[in-house]
């Protein structure tokens, strides 16, 4: 699993990346009450606003951690947005992206580097 400075995570299987937000991001947001997942087929550039996650008090953008085409969105979040808090780095995934440049994943932080980064915040 790799991580961005905006607190998204990526797990690459073949050329498909599963993406979501980190446990730290979920804790900072508080109770998630609504998720707008990306549409399947949408082509994203790394850093594009990909999804929206809403807590009681605010809406926040989730950015595409890698470039590619959305091949699947987590439909369960529509009925159970609280999954993002309960299992942010597992069942609370947002989308699967067919990556156009796998080297983008390698350039992201590994867990140790991400935890070091969290220590600076």
């Amino acid at each position: 699993m790799r991580f961005t400075r905006d607190h998204e995570w990526v797990e690459l299987n073949g050329d498909v990346a599963t993406v979501g937000i980190t446990a730290y991001a979920a804790e900072q947001l508080g109770d998630v009450v609504f998720v707008e997942a990306p549409d399947v087929g949408k082509v994203l550039n790394q850093g594009d606003a990909m999804a929206v996650v809403e807590s009681v008090k605010a809406a926040s953008d989730v950015y595409a951690p890698v470039s590619g085409e959305v091949v699947e969105a987590n439909g369960e979040l529509a009925d159970a947005p609280e999954t993002v808090n309960a299992a942010p780095e597992a069942g609370g995934w947002f989308a699967k992206i067919k990556v156009s440049d796998p080297s983008q994943v390698d350039a992201l932080m590994d867990r140790a580097a991400y935890e070091e980064y969290l220590g600076t915040l």
């Binding site: 508080g30 109770d31 009450v33 609504f34 707008e36 929206v52 809403e54 807590s55 009681v56 008090k57 809406a59």
Partner: protein, 371 residues
């Protein structure tokens, strides 16, 4: 934008930090937006037990003079000459065009003038306006050495009665001066959550002791501004600077209850011509409650459209309603589209979601009007 170092602190700043609060800038103060439990649980706790809020950023003042009650009628549409000792009234500070400069509470807890509480973000301007309009017949003493706590929820009365026994015998909008927690207290049975509860003004020097004493009761938890906002939204109560501003009249804001019958007949308050006309002929827009039936929460700034897609208004505040389990909003629409049951749409990030006009409050209020 002010940096964090410029922010003022209430007397309870250290207590908030110690309780794990997330502090944010609000009305020029560093204020707790939430504690460890988070907005959702804090909201629900207030509705089922009792929540304690620090609202010391709000502006407290005493207005004194030969007849401060009649003078106050020069700048508000309320019946203050008829305000009995021991009573509080919700009112509006109006500009010459009938727009709302601020909303406020004014009360007679004792024989010493009129006690007013105004919004924190508006207080400097409010007291300047009051002074401009009413000096020298009225003098203003800002009570900057006092903190203000709100204890809200169905268990607030039992909790407070341990410290201030007579509190249990008071009703909604009673106001009185007493001794409690070993200090002088100005208190009312009111609040801004839709729940029963009290607003408690105490000397700043006693704030931390009173705060800790109330929190020592297991029925009470500290509640941040995040839940205060979702609670007042469910209660259908407007938030100044969002739902109401200097362009909005009391009629448009659906606050006509604050324009007393006597004053309507006399037409002797600022902007009376517009307000009386709107009462007779209807305003061009009116604040309504919306239940969001599908899609994302509609927040401040989201457009409201009719079922043909024509934009007819705008959301002024909205979000997820924890006690209802779905999003709600307030916004302004033409009166023809304001009837309960009217189907509308809200446009969030370019997507249209179904909404329906519903009566406010969204969650029934639980004010204690009889004991």
């Amino acid at each position: 934008m002010s940096s964090e170092a410029d922010l003022k602190k209430t007397p309870l700043y250290d207590a908030h930090v110690a309780a794990g609060a997330r502090m944010v800038p609000f009305a020029g103060y560093a204020m707790p937006v939430q504690y460890r439990d988070g907005v959702l649980r804090e909201h629900l706790w207030t509705r089922e037990s009792a929540g304690l809020f620090d609202v010391s950023h709000m502006g407290q003042a005493k207005l004194r003079g030969v007849s401060p009650l009649s003078a106050f009628e020069e700048i508000t549409p309320g019946d203050f000459i008829g305000l009995a000792p021991g009573k509080q009234r919700y009112s509006l500070l109006l500009n010459k065009k009938g727009g709302i400069i601020d909303d406020l509470m004014a009360s007679r807890p004792d024989d010493d003038g009129l006690f007013v509480i105004v919004n924190g973000a508006c207080k400097d301007n409010d007291f300047r306006v009051i002074d401009d309009e009413l000096a020298p017949q009225v003098t203003i003493e800002r009570l900057e050495n006092r903190a203000l706590l709100a204890l809200q929820g169905p268990k607030a009365a039992e909790v407070l009665a341990k410290h201030i026994p007579e509190a249990a015998g008071k009703v909604f909008m009673d106001s009185w001066a007493t001794t409690g927690f070993g200090v002088d207290v100005l208190i009312s049975r009111s609040g801004y959550t839709g729940e029963d509860g009290y607003e408690i003004s105490i000397p700043a020097s006693a704030a931390t002791d009173v705060w800790n004493t109330l929190l020592a009761d297991e029925r009470v938890k500290p509640i941040g501004l995040g839940a205060r906002d979702s609670l007042r939204l469910e209660a259908g109560l407007p938030l100044y600077g969002h739902d109401v501003d200097e362009t909005v009249s009391p009629v448009e804001a659906a606050l006509t209850f604050a324009v007393s019958k006597k004053r309507r007949d006399a037409q002797d308050f600022p902007g009376a011509a517009r307000i009386v006309r709107e009462l007779a002929e209807g305003p061009s827009r009116v604040r309504v409650g919306l239940k969001i039936l599908s899609g994302a929460p509609a927040r401040e700034g989201a457009e409201i459209a009719d079922t043909d897609g024509t934009v007819v208004g705008v959301v002024t505040s909205g979000g997820f309603a924890p006690s209802l389990g779905h999003p709600i909003a307030m916004g302004f629409v033409p009166p023809a589209l304001a009837a309960v049951g009217t189907s509308l749409n809200v446009i969030v990030r370019g997507k249209s979601g179904a909404a329906e006009v519903v009566a406010m409050p969204f969650v029934p209020n639980r004010y204690v009007r009889k004991v």
